[in-house]
């Protein structure tokens, strides 16, 4: 991308003329592309005087109440939730896959060495997290034994929901690895199907007992990329 193209892409992103897919792509790119990120901020600044030209329109009374009800509902989950609302499970998992690049290399290796038993051959590991803080879960995928080991570290969940662990491969619908318990380590059967080196693990918030549909229905609260051990 030339500088001019970068400026134009950032400008169109800020103006809002791009398609949904292109908007998501720009949002993914800006995370690692400081030039693009800088251009987006520059366009926001250039166009910011226009924010003074909007007319006030009174808002129907119920809107604040709805927002506050949502905040009340989230008060239980706010400490674990960091994924955007709206859209379907697949989109949310795509988001998880996009943000996961951010989370790798944040010093998680330190925990990995400390809290896990020595690795088996041909296994993958993922530090499943939501930000640079303490890992929520550490998950080891043992391909030879077809086993998934889940070690909760700091995962939390609201009382009314369960957390469900998903494997998301490239070009593949999320595959459930089961409902996880935030208090006790868990071993589960990996089931059939391949595990790709660039696969992602994601944890979604689901009704008690897990997703009723077989696909994620709630927001992704944690995610992490599989790394070959």
């Amino acid at each position: 991308m030339t500088d001019d193209e970068c400026t134009a892409l950032a400008g169109e992103y800020v103006l809002g003329t791009l398609s949904s897919a292109d908007r998501r792509q720009v949002e993914r790119l800006r995370v690692s592309d400081t030039r693009l990120d800088g251009e987006i901020e520059a366009w926001e600044a250039r166009l910011s005087p226009l924010s003074q030209t909007f007319e006030d329109v009174s808002v129907p009374d119920g809107v604040l109440a709805r927002i506050e009800a949502e905040l009340d509902r989230e008060a239980v989950t706010v400490s674990i939730e960091d994924a955007p609302r709206g859209g379907h499970g697949r989109a949310r998992l795509a988001y998880a896959a996009a943000v996961v690049a951010l989370m790798i290399g944040l010093g998680s290796g330190y925990y990995v060495r400390d809290v896990l038993p020595p690795p088996a051959d041909d296994s993958y590991i993922a530090v499943v997290n939501r930000d640079a803080g303490l890992p929520a879960l550490i998950v080891r995928v043992d391909l030879a034994g077809r086993q998934v080991s889940v070690r909760p570290v700091s995962a939390e969940k609201p009382a009314d929901n369960d957390l469900e662990l998903w494997y998301v491969g490239p070009e593949e619908a999320p595959r459930s690895l089961g409902v996880i318990d935030v208090a006790t380590p868990l071993k589960a059967d990996l089931g059939q199907g391949a595990i790709a080196p660039d696969g992602v693990l994601a944890v979604s918030l689901e009704p008690r007992g897990g997703s009723p549909t077989g696909a994620p229905t709630g927001p992704v609260v944690y995610s992490g990329q599989l790394i070959r051990e």
């Binding site: 400026t7 924010s51 909007f54 329109v57 905040l71 955007p84 859209g87």
Partner: protein
Amino acid sequence: MTIASGASADATSSKVDLAGLLDAVSVGDRMAFRDLYGRTSTKLFGVVLGICKDRTLSEDVMQEAYLRVWRYADGFDASRASPVTWLATIARNAAIDAVRARGRTSPVFDGARDENEEDPMMRVADPTEHPAPWDLEALRTCLAGLEAEHRRCVLLAYYEGYSREDLSERFDRPVGTIKTWLYRGLSALKACLGTT
């Protein structure tokens, strides 16, 4: 003390207040959130309604926008953007995400408006704050220097959330042409603002 300096002090203290409210919201202060909503929601509804058109969708987008404000308030940096700009950016993004996700299920345009269309520059020329701040004056001057079609594309996108495809339909030109217009319009705007 003159009236002018008094007004400017008011404007400054109001900006400080919004920034202070955002600061309080970032640590989970619900009272501050309610206060912030009370002071900014009519403006953001103007932003959102302009893009979504539909009132029901706009109300959903308002909910989404203020939830984002609640979640991301700690990302607000007063040294980089004014509170109003930051909030308007969140509202515009939420509105554009919503209309793109919905797709163009209903006709965005009606023929009568095309014949008799209000020049979008009128909005830029009629700021809610008088006299217009210098930065708005500069932007207006630069917008006025764009070719008319390029300017209309930029402003219809900004105020009404037109996508490339919407603009293509509106101007009856291929999407490629619209892309070129936007590219040229934005380039000229950047060059002009760099020199003012």
